[in-house]
C-alpha cells in the first residue's frame, strides 16, 4: 500500500503532464485511461479498507478504556474544550497508562542500613538476669555493622495470591530469611491466609520490619519474651470483620524451632497464636489501635545460657509449656491528620508470660533436672514527636519484672537477683526524604544487675527501589 501510492501518483502525473502522450495513439491512450481508472478504484477501496481498520482500532481502544460501552466515547470527550489537544485524548491514554510500570518483575526493595555502636560495657557479656532467654538478645556489636540491611521481593502472583520474601543481614553479619510467604487475595469475607515464614501479627511491633521501627533496637520485652520478634514457619489466618469499627481477628500455627519453642520435636506445631485488634479515629487529628494477643509455645529442650554463682557461663535446657499474653496500644496525633510537619506517636505494650515444665540445669555437666515454673512480665512505653518535616525526637522506657521463678531444687542454682531490669532510650533522627534517615540513639541500659551500660548508636537507613507502603 505504502509503495503503491507514489507509484500510481507518478503515473498519474506523467499522464497529465505529457502532451506528447495526448497526441499519440488513441488506443494506447484509452488503455492508459482504463489502467488509471482501475488503479484509482483499487486505491479507493484500499483507502476505504484502511479507514475501516482505523475505525475498528479506535473502537477497540475505546472499549478497552471503557468496557461498558463504545458509543460513550463521544460523550466522554470534554464538554467545553476551547484550546485543547489534552481533552480529546481520553481513550488513547486510558488503558495503556494504568499499570504502575513494573512489568512482570517483582517489586524489589532494598534497605541499606549501617550502625556504629559504642557501649560502655562489653556486649558479649550481655545478659538479662532471671529470664530463660533465647533468640536475639542484647544491644548488638561494638563498632560498625550492617545490621538490619534487608532485601525484599514482592509481587502479586496471579488473581489469587500475593507473595513476598525478605532476606536480612543481622548485626553479627549473618544473612537470614526473615520472611518468605504467600498470601491469598481472593478469599471472601475479608479473610486472608498467609503461608510460609512470616512475622506473626501479635502485639504491635512484632510484624513490623526493623527498618520501620522508631528505635534502632527492639524493646527489652520483645527480646526476652520473643527473642526479638516471633517469626513462624506455618499458617496464619486473619479476618477483618464487616463492621464500621475496625476489628481484626486472627491466629496462626508454626513449626517448632525458633525461640520461644525449641528444636526437639518438629512433628507437632511449636507455636500457636491468637490475636485481636481494633482501632479508629477521634476527629480528624487522632487515630488509634489497640490489641490483645496470645502466644503458646511448646518448648522441647529449649537452650539458654545462665551464669553460676562464680560468674561462669552454664548451659541449661527447658522443656514445657510457655504462654504469653500481650496487650498493645498506639495513639497517633497530627494536626488535621496531616503528618508532614508535625506528629506525635504514643506506643506501649505489656507482656506477661507463664512457663511450666522441667529444667535441666548445666545440661552438659551436672545435669540437674527438676520441675520449673515462672510467671514474669515486662512492658515498654515510647513517644515519638516530629517537630519539623525532617526531624523527629523519641523517648522510650523499658522495664522487666523477674516475677516468680520456682525451679524447685534448681532455684538456688539460678541467677535471680531481686531486681527489675530497665532501660531508658533517647533518639533523634533526620529524614531528608522518605527514603533516607540518619539516627542518633543514646541509651542507659540497666538490664544487668548492678551495671549501667551507656550506649551510643548512630545509624543510617536508606531505602532503594520500589516504594514500600507502611502499615499503621
Amino acid at each position: 500500500m505504502n509503495r503503491s501510492i507514489p507509484f500510481s501518483a507518478t503515473l498519474l502525473a506523467l499522464a497529465m503532464a505529457s502532451p506528447s502522450l495526448w497526441a499519440a495513439d488513441s488506443a494506447q491512450l484509452q488503455q492508459l485511461q482504463q489502467e488509471i481508472a482501475a488503479m484509482r478504484k483499487d486505491y479507493e477501496t484500499q483507502l476505504k479498507a484502511l479507514e475501516a481498520r482505523l475505525k475498528q482500532a479506535e473502537a477497540s481502544l475505546a472499549s478497552q478504556a471503557a468496557p461498558a460501552s463504545q458509543t460513550a466515547v463521544a460523550q466522554a470527550a470534554p464538554p467545553a474544550a476551547p484550546t485543547d489537544a489534552l481533552a480529546t485524548s481520553t481513550s488513547s491514554s486510558g488503558a495503556a497508562s494504568r499499570t504502575t510500570g513494573k512489568g512482570f518483575n517483582p517489586d524489589i526493595a532494598l534497605v541499606l542500613s549501617g550502625t556504629y555502636s559504642s557501649f560502655s560495657k562489653d556486649p558479649t557479656q550481655y545478659r538479662i538476669p532471671g529470664f530463660l532467654t533465647g533468640g536475639e538478645i542484647g544491644p548488638g556489636v561494638q563498632g560498625f555493622s550492617l545490621g538490619e540491611s534487608e532485601l525484599t521481593f514482592s509481587a502479586t502472583v496471579d488473581p489469587w495470591f500475593y507473595g513476598s520474601m525478605s532476606v536480612a543481614l543481622a548485626a553479627d553479619n549473618s544473612a537470614s530469611v526473615e520472611e518468605a510467604f504467600i498470601q491469598t487475595t481472593s478469599l471472601p469475607a475479608g479473610i486472608g491466609l498467609k503461608a510460609g515464614r512470616f512475622l506473626a501479627s501479635v502485639g504491635y511491633q512484632n510484624d513490623k520490619h526493623a527498618h520501620t521501627w522508631d528505635f534502632i533496637n527492639a524493646p527489652l520485652a520483645y527480646q526476652v519474651f520473643l527473642g526479638g520478634a516471633l517469626a513462624q514457619d506455618g499458617l496464619q489466618l486473619k479476618a477483618v470483620l464487616p463492621t464500621d469499627q475496625f476489628i481484626e481477628l486472627g491466629g496462626g500455627i508454626g513449626a517448632a524451632g525458633e525461640y520461644p519453642s525449641g528444636t526437639g520435636n518438629r512433628k507437632k506445631p511449636g507455636t500457636g497464636t491468637l490475636f485481636a485488634h481494633t482501632g479508629g479515629d477521634v476527629g480528624a487529628s487522632n487515630s488509634w489501635r489497640a490489641g490483645a494477643s496470645m502466644v503458646w509455645a511448646k518448648a522441647y529442650d529449649r537452650p539458654f545460657e545462665d551464669i553460676d554463682s562464680a560468674g561462669n557461663p552454664v548451659n541449661s535446657v527447658f522443656t514445657g509449656n510457655s504462654r504469653l499474653a500481650i496487650l498493645d496500644g498506639v495513639w497517633k496525633w497530627s494536626p488535621n491528620g496531616n503528618s508532614t510537619r508535625t506528629s506525635l506517636t504514643l506506643q506501649g505494650e505489656y507482656f506477661r508470660r507463664i512457663e511450666s515444665g522441667s529444667l535441666v540445669y548445666d545440661e552438659s555437666g551436672q545435669a540437674l533436672a527438676d520441675s520449673f515454673r515462672s510467671a514474669q512480665s515486662g512492658w515498654y512505653a515510647q513517644a515519638v514527636y516530629k517537630f519539623l518535616p525532617d526531624w523527629r525526637v523519641g523517648l522510650r522506657y523499658d522495664r522487666l519484672d523477674i516475677g516468680n521463678v520456682n525451679a524447685s531444687s534448681n532455684t538456688a542454682n539460678l541467677y535471680l537477683p531481686a531486681y527489675s531490669p530497665n532501660r531508658t532510650t533517647l533518639m533523634v533522627d533526620w529524614s531528608p526524604s522518605e527514603f533516607s534517615r540518619v539516627r542518633l540513639q543514646l541509651a542507659q541500659d540497666r538490664a544487668r544487675y548492678g551495671l549501667t551500660d551507656n550506649q551510643i548508636m548512630i545509624q543510617y537507613q536508606m531505602s532503594l527501589g520500589s516504594h514500600g507502603a507502611h502499615s499503621f
Binding site: 471503557a66 485543547d84 481533552a87 488473581p159 496531616n338 531528608p432 526524604s433
Partner: protein
Amino acid sequence: MKKILQLAAAWLLVLGAQSAQADLKVLACEPEWGALVKELAGDKASVYVATTGLQDPHHIEARPSLVAAARNTQLLVCTGAELEIGWLPVLIRQSGNTAIQPGRPGNFEAAAFVRKLEVPARLDRGDGDVHAAGNPHIQTDPRNIALVAEPLARRLAELDPANASVYQARSADFLARWKAAIQRWDKEAAPLRGVPVVVQHKAFPYLQQWLGMVEVAVLEPKPGVEPTSAHLSAVLAGLQAKPAKMILRAAYNDGRGAEWLADRTKLPVVVLPFTVGGNEQAKDLFSLFDDTVQRLLKGLR
C-alpha cells in the same frame, strides 16, 4: 464444633444482609472523587472519603478506620498514577476485600482516563518524589473531571446494574451543568492567560495548562522535598530576571516558604483549596472551581 458452625452461619447471615442493603458503598481516596460520586450517584451510593482537603494525599497513614472502610466498600475510587502508593497498597492488602484488588471492577483509577502531564523522561529518586506515570494532581483542571465522570458513571452502573439508568441520567445532567460551568470559568479566567506564577509544589500543571498560566519557579527544590533557605534564595534571585505575578500553594502545604518569598517580593500568596473541603468555600466540585478562579483573579489585582 456445633457452636462454631452456628457462629459461622450467623456470620454468613450478617454478610448476606449487608449485601442486600440498597446503597452502593464507595470509598474515595480523595475528596474530589467523593464529590464526583455524589454528583453521579446521589442517594444511590454511600461515600466514605479517606482524606480531607487539609491532608497531603502523598502521605496518609493506613489507619485502622481506613482498613475497615476498605474492607466494607464495593468500589474504591482513587486518583492512581502512584499518588497513593505510600498507603493504598497496604490498605487494600490488609482489608482482605477481594472486590477492590487492582484490576477488579471495584478498583477505579481516575488518572487512567486522563492524559498525564510531566511524565518523567527518566526515573531517578535523585529527582525527588517523581511519579512514573506522570503528575497525579489531575483534579485541578475541570475538563479532567469531565473525562473521569463518564467512565466512573459507567463503572457505577456496572457494579449496581439495578440503578444503571439513574447513573446514566445523573451523569448526563452533571456533564451538561459542568460544561456550562467550564464555559463560565473560561470566560471569567480569561485575564489569567499568560500570567507567570511561582508554585510551592508541582501540584498545578493541569490548572496551568487549562488557564494558560506560566510556571516560572517552584519552591520545592525537588518534588516532595520541603523548601530550603538556599533554594528559596535562588528562586528569589531568579524572579529578578523572570518576574511572577503570584505564589500558588495548596491548602495542605505548609505556608512558611511561600510567606518568606512573599515578604521579600511583595507577591500575593494565593492559597488554593486544591480539592473539595480545602477551604470553607469549596463545598462541592462547582464551588471548588468557583473559588479557585476567584482566588486567582483576586491574586492578579
